[in-house]
């Protein structure tokens, strides 16, 4: 039932739509602009003479005969071996997500089912660890990793990212498991299951929504990481984000900045798809922590 008083005056409605429309432009335009520009030559994307060149691609037309060119992508993916970085990123993300979910669900489940004081303190310690900026930890890894000769390789970075991920994973899964009624596994235990069997046969089938949401955030953390991967990986094992940073160092001088632009667009596309398909889970994951607290 819509009351008359509920109806917003038309001017207010227009204002709201205008503001939201401006926000969408502010949020999305930089990405759209960069995607468009990544198919141009540098003199169009960074046009000194006339900004409309970035739209029409005058110089690109002059150089390649068409207003679009894949030269930037070719340069990044083939000439600069960006495909290797992409493979590294996906190896790292896959193993980080799998490992951190496996050990995180076990821990989160136990924390949600134990009522002793120490669970609280464990969660508080996890919270403190979560607040530590990863870059400060990296300073602590360097010397031991050099000493043991495990610096620069993918497995080390995977384990480090899993560990950095754990506090957040624990908190999130802990709150998801608390929403699964305790009676479920209690009754399984009454029927003669051990705690682990109760977890295996009763809880695991019921936990997937929470696990998928947590997995998304683990993936984002591993995929988006710059501090750890840029410091702990040797040059030939680099993932995409540090590779882009390395491009910048060379391209500003060599004048092929379009490689970096193409690499940036390529790296953004998986994130784009992720948000598109998992929007609900991302929103629910972000709010899970807040609404509870």
């Amino acid at each position: 039932m819509a009351l008359r008083i509920d109806r917003r005056p038309i001017s207010l409605k227009l204002l709201i739509y205008f503001l939201i429309f401006s926000w969408v432009i502010i949020a999305a335009f930089p990405f759209i602009w960069t995607v468009w520009g990544s198919f141009k030559v540098e003199l169009d994307f960074f046009s000194i003479s006339d900004w409309t060149y970035a739209l029409t691609g005058e110089r690109t037309k002059a150089e390649y005969g068409s207003p679009f060119t894949g030269k930037g992508y070719e340069g990044a993916w083939l000439d600069n071996y960006f495909w290797r970085n992409a493979i590294n990123t996906f190896i790292i993300c896959f193993f980080v997500v799998c490992t951190s979910l496996t050990i995180g669900t076990l821990g989160g489940y136990a924390l949600s089912r134990s009522s002793y004081q120490y669970t609280f303190w464990l969660l508080v310690i996890a919270l403190i660890f979560r607040a530590m900026p990863p870059i400060t930890l990296v300073a602590g890894y360097m010397l031991p990793f050099f000493e043991w000769n495990i610096w620069g390789i993918l497995p080390t970075t995977i384990i480090v990212l899993v560990a950095i991920n754990q506090p957040f994973t624990l908190w999130m899964l802990h709150s998801f498991f608390q929403n699964i009624p305790k009676e479920l596994d209690e009754s399984a235990k009454v029927d003669g299951c051990t705690q682990f069997e109760a977890f295996r046969f009763v809880i695991i089938p019921a936990m997937w929504p929470g696990v998928i949401t947590t997995g998304l955030f683990s993936f984002l953390l591993a995929y988006n990481d710059f501090a750890v991967t840029s410091m702990l990986l040797a040059e030939n094992n680099r993932t995409m984000v540090p590779a882009i940073a390395a491009f910048l160092g060379t391209t500003y001088t060599e004048g092929n900045i379009m490689f970096a632009v193409a690499a940036v667009v390529s790296t953004t596309i998986p994130l784009f798809l992720l948000v598109m398909f998992f929007q609900k889970q991302i929103v629910s994951g972000l709010t899970a922590g807040a609404v509870k607290g």
Binding site: W33, I48, A139, P167
Partner: protein, 342 residues
Amino acid sequence: MRHSTFFWFVLPTATAMILFIALPIISVLLQSVHAPHQAVLVEVETCTPLVGCTVETTMDQEATKALRDAQPLGRFVGLDIFFDRGHLAVNEVKKIINNSNTWNEIFTQLSNLPFYRAMAFTLTFTFVVTPFVIIFGFFIAIGVNAISSYFKGLVIFFSLLPFVVTQLIGALVLFWMIDSRGILGSAVQWIASDPNLSLKASTGVMWLSLIIYGIWHAAPFAFVIFYAGLQTLPQDQIEAAKIDGASRYQQIRYIVIPHLFPLITFVALIQLMDNFRVFEPIVGFNASAHAQSLSWFIFNDLGGETRQLSSAAASSVLTIIGVSILLFPVLLRTWRDFREQT
């Protein structure tokens, strides 16, 4: 759950966190009170007939290497690294305070010391970005809540992008537009009719763009949290307020904001901690000539040709202290919640 079962369930995750978070913190603490070994010097006297004898000082490669291998941490120097010119710069600060008469003078001189310059930027960034993120997030949430549900999904999709996309990439995308040859940069030059106005030349403009980036990146986070909070508004209170003739503004002021208040503090606390570690945008904007932060110091020390581990470790300890101060209210809140629950 029995203690032993609990132990086995928690063991893998606890091991990972102890090995790769707790121990590194200790390792950082140790490293920060040790400096690299100095080279072992030996004096060699070479005598040639007729010319006479000369004493040369050379580095004893073998002895130096042996010393470095024996004690890879370096030599113990106490808090020296914390007090040196690159960090707290105690001597320089004393001198400045003794020699300056006005506060203004003290501040200008302090801002020449790298640590204090970085602190100035970090704190400005943290305390400007956080309130703006909350304000923008709040207005976007109110606005999205009011539009037709037909558009909501699409608006949320686009809103999430600046937050979900890698910080470095978001910073680069924005930087390429603000760059003097980019579209926004040219627009600003045209509006100000000053063809030489450039991001790279001015500290003020650089700070402003980093702050704009920070707000752009984090506003979606505040928006999503507040939007979720708006879905649980107490409808009966709103009805009652309407019947009593409350205006839209009064409804927001007296019902919506108090309802969202716990979420506002949550966003504020998280944002204070996140903004304090600002670092990727400085790399993305290529801004280190104008703006540095503690995290950037660590990154710079670790990444250079000569990895300055001790200096990085000292900066890390200072960062950890800063984060702990900001974390304290969060812990207090968690403790209060826990006490209420039990």
